[in-house]
């Protein structure tokens, strides 16, 4: 029976929520965050010469956004073919209203977004959803590559009732059982969204932890309230990450960290050649024929090259012979994980100006405009007006073209291509 451990046991185990955010428990002077003088978020905001706070707010936003998108870009092996179990806490604790409108509503909204994003970025991966309440774990959807199945299950009213205590052990055991079927070449991951500070388990969760380690399951967690020792330990020892969400936006960021495939760390992970079918689209039928996946009549479909049965969407597994069916673009969709774009570096004022405008969108650099608009000297932003560097200018290290922040974020988050390098 594991219990929520609210106080860190010792300094080794103390909790590191997110070293970028203000949530650091330990302050600069070595004390705990709650021992320090209370920091008000509005203290950092200072009026500029004209009495406006707009420029400084914009500056802070830009910094945050830039920080957020700086990612690890080393070309490492990533498990492109993933098997993820999403565990959702449906205990009574999820009824609290510290996330709007309630924890469970916020979680379900995020889960919907997560599923969409997950399948968009990992088209040949699979997902399963498990809910835990009343000390039990229930599988809402089995491992499947069709986002519609999962979204439908989340929409189902019956799956939204909250009751009793969660059981992490039961949920993890069920997840492990589900993932056992997954082939070894794919990754096995569990992503939990937990709101409860306790877990009501039938046995020793430490044994489950050992089992998880042997089965090479990576457990990551987003907790909605506070850090719990046992949760943190499970994440740490299975190679996952444990986060506490501060607010809705933060929760989204934390959950979405699980969208890109994690790097392969275990040496035991095997690589395989996976047999896949590339079906031909068939839409020349005279009469509608049923598909094997939903048993619905339709003209358009894809013919499994092995068993010649018709499925209606790609990617999927053939329901008759089990062959994974994909189209070549689906494979291409994952390439950007393998060859990530390098982070752009902020241009400092000494650097030579290469482009007179943003190489992406053609926007003229901001400083001259800002300088002209605000005649008062702005001491907080040195280097303004120099023409060479300044805020909001980022340079690709490979092609040496300059981009604005807007394009920088767009290139790394959506496009995955540097227009100058290709």
């Amino acid at each position: 029976m594991a219990k929520g451990n609210k106080e860190p046991a010792d300094d080794e185990d103390y909790i590191d929520i997110d070293d970028t955010g203000p949530g650091d428990l330990k302050g600069a002077d070595g004390g705990y965050a709650w021992e320090e003088e209370y920091k008000r978020s509005w203290d950092v905001i200072q009026e500029d010469a004209s009495g406006s706070i707009q420029s400084i707010v914009l500056g802070i936003n830009d910094q945050l956004r830039h920080k957020r998108r700086v990612r690890d870009t080393e070309a490492i092996q990533r498990g492109i073919i993933r098997h993820v179990v999403l565990i959702i806490d449906q205990s009574e604790n999820m009824n609290l209203r510290d996330l709007m409108p309630t924890r469970i509503q916020a979680t379900l909204t995020m889960a919907n977004a997560f599923i969409g994003e997950y399948f968009d970025q990992n088209p040949i991966s699979q997902l399963s959803i498990i809910a835990t309440k009343d000390g039990l774990a229930e599988k809402l959807t089995d491992l499947s590559g069709n986002p519609m199945d999962h979204l439908g299950a989340l929409k189902d009213k019956a799956n939204k009732d909250l009751a009793g205590e969660p059981s992490l052990q039961n949920a993890l055991e069920l997840a492990m059982h589900t993932l056992k079927r997954a082939p070894t070449h794919g990754s096995r991951e569990v992503v939990c969204v937990i709101g409860s500070l306790t877990t009501c388990d039938p046995g020793d969760i430490a044994q489950t932890l050992e089992a998880l380690k042997t089965a090479q399951v990576r457990v990551s967690m987003v907790h909605l309230a506070a850090e719990v020792h046992v949760f943190k330990r499970i994440c740490k020892e299975t190679g996952g990450v444990f986060y506490v969400a501060q607010n809705e936006d933060n929760m989204k960021d934390l959950l979405f960290e699980n969208v890109p495939p994690p790097p392969i760390v275990s040496a035991k992970a095997t690589s395989d050649m996976i047999q896949m079918g590339f079906p031909i689209k068939a839409n020349n039928a005279e009469v509608p024929t049923p598909c094997v996946c939903h048993h619905e009549l339709g003209f358009v479909g894809y013919i499994c090259p092995r068993c010649k049965s018709k499925v209606c969407t790609l990617p999927t597994d053939c329901d008759v012979c089990g062959l994974p069916l994909v189209s070549a673009p689906h494979l291409a969709r994952s390439y950007h994980h393998l060859f990530p774009e390098e982070n752009f570096k902020e241009v400092v004022s000494g650097d030579m100006a290469v482009d007179s405008t943003c190489f992406g969108c053609g926007a003229v650099w901001a400083e001259p405009l800002v300088a002209a608009a605000a005649a008062a000297p702005d001491t907080s932003e040195p280097g303004g007006g120099g023409g060479g560097g300044g805020p909001g200018k980022y340079r690709c290290p490979r092609c040496k073209h300059d981009y604005c922040l807007e394009c920088d974020i767009f290139i790394h988050e959506t496009l995955h291509n540097c227009p100058g390098c290709v």
Binding site: P183, G186, S271, M273, P305, A328
Partner: protein, 312 residues
């Protein structure tokens, strides 16, 4: 995504392929094609005063934004043409002229791996998306954006991955990509761009007389109109893959679980990422339980480097 409304403005990014050597082989001259394109652009601007336009041009070496231009070119006043049209026409035509003439003067080729008849298409499309992103972010109301690519050059296999990234980004942003291929064989890459984003793929007949009519009929329609009117059906595109090792079209292939390279037969080592495979074919459980397939792994020449990846 919400439904497009009749009053919503649109954003059109026209990407012109001005590869001189590719056009030299075309029965339709570049001048003629541009004339027709300019009329099309005027027609687009005439549709709605709020309509926004960006014109990019790309050749083998560079990709330039012609409109809106950085510098305001002084244009001889011509009272016969509507002001807005004239500004666009003059900027676009002079921009293309300078690119066509400038291309020959330039020496040294910074873009290795791109052959003479190929164009920096993925760079042009990437920049087009950056422009679209900027306009969409900077506007409060909904803007429906689409792209029109006038393509003459052949596909550059080197661009496959970047082009695919661009296409998926466009798909996520709800950007339609219309393709107008002027001559030569079908562009497999651009065909996929149109198919995946829901745009049209047009092939202009040899002398290009009907190009303008075809453009007016199919590519002028905005998102709203496309909901109402029937789009010309694209030919079915074969999404089957070509293997990396023998460039054969495969129905059932083997995919490296690490780098997703496609092979037509089993190999001990992935030729792309050098991963050593465990000697068994991974199959999902149901396949094993059905026992449909028994195939003995045979070693294959795995030394073929990945030089290009094409799709049939």
């Amino acid at each position: 995504m919400s439904e497009p409304l009749e009053s919503d403005p649109s954003l059109l990014v026209v990407v012109l392929d001005v590869n001189a050597s590719a056009w030299s082989k075309s029965p339709l001259t570049v001048g003629n094609a541009l004339q027709q394109m300019v009329i099309f652009i005027n027609a687009y601007l005439a549709l709605k005063p709020e309509n926004n336009l960006v014109v990019l041009a790309a050749n083998k070496r560079e990709c330039k934004c012609l409109y809106p231009a950085d510098r305001t070119t002084t244009i001889e006043r011509d009272i016969r043409v509507y002001e807005q049209f004239r500004v666009v026409d003059a900027t676009v035509l002079s921009g293309v002229q300078s690119m066509l003439s400038g291309a020959e003067a330039m020496v040294g080729d910074p873009n290795l791996g791109i052959e003479e008849g190929q164009t920096l298409m993925s760079r042009a499309l990437s920049r087009a998306l950056c422009h679209i992103h900027r306009v969409v972010e900077g506007t409060k109301s909904k803007v429906w954006s689409r792209m029109l690519v006038l393509s003459a050059a052949d596909d550059a296999p080197r661009e496959y991955i970047s082009l695919m990234n661009t296409i998926f980004a466009a798909q996520r942003m709800g950007v339609l990509i219309d393709i107008c291929k002027v001559f030569g064989g079908d562009s497999v890459f651009l065909q996929q761009a149109a198919e995946i984003t829901g745009g049209n793929y047009l092939k202009v007949d040899t002398n290009g007389e009907s190009m303008l009519q075809t453009l007016m009929f199919t590519c002028l329609a905005d998102h709203y109109t496309r909901e109402v009117l029937v789009a010309p059906t694209n030919e079915t595109i074969d999404f089957r893959a070509t293997c990396f090792c023998h460039k054969r079209v495969v129905d059932i292939g083997y995919v490296c679980s690490v780098c997703l390279s496609i092979f037509c037969e089993l190999a001990p080592v992935c030729s792309t990422c050098q991963t050593k495979f465990s000697f068994r074919i991974a199959r999902s459980e149901s396949a094993q339980s059905n026992g449909v397939l028994k195939q003995s792994p045979k070693p294959a020449a795995a030394t073929v480097a990945m030089s290009s990846l094409t799709l049939s």
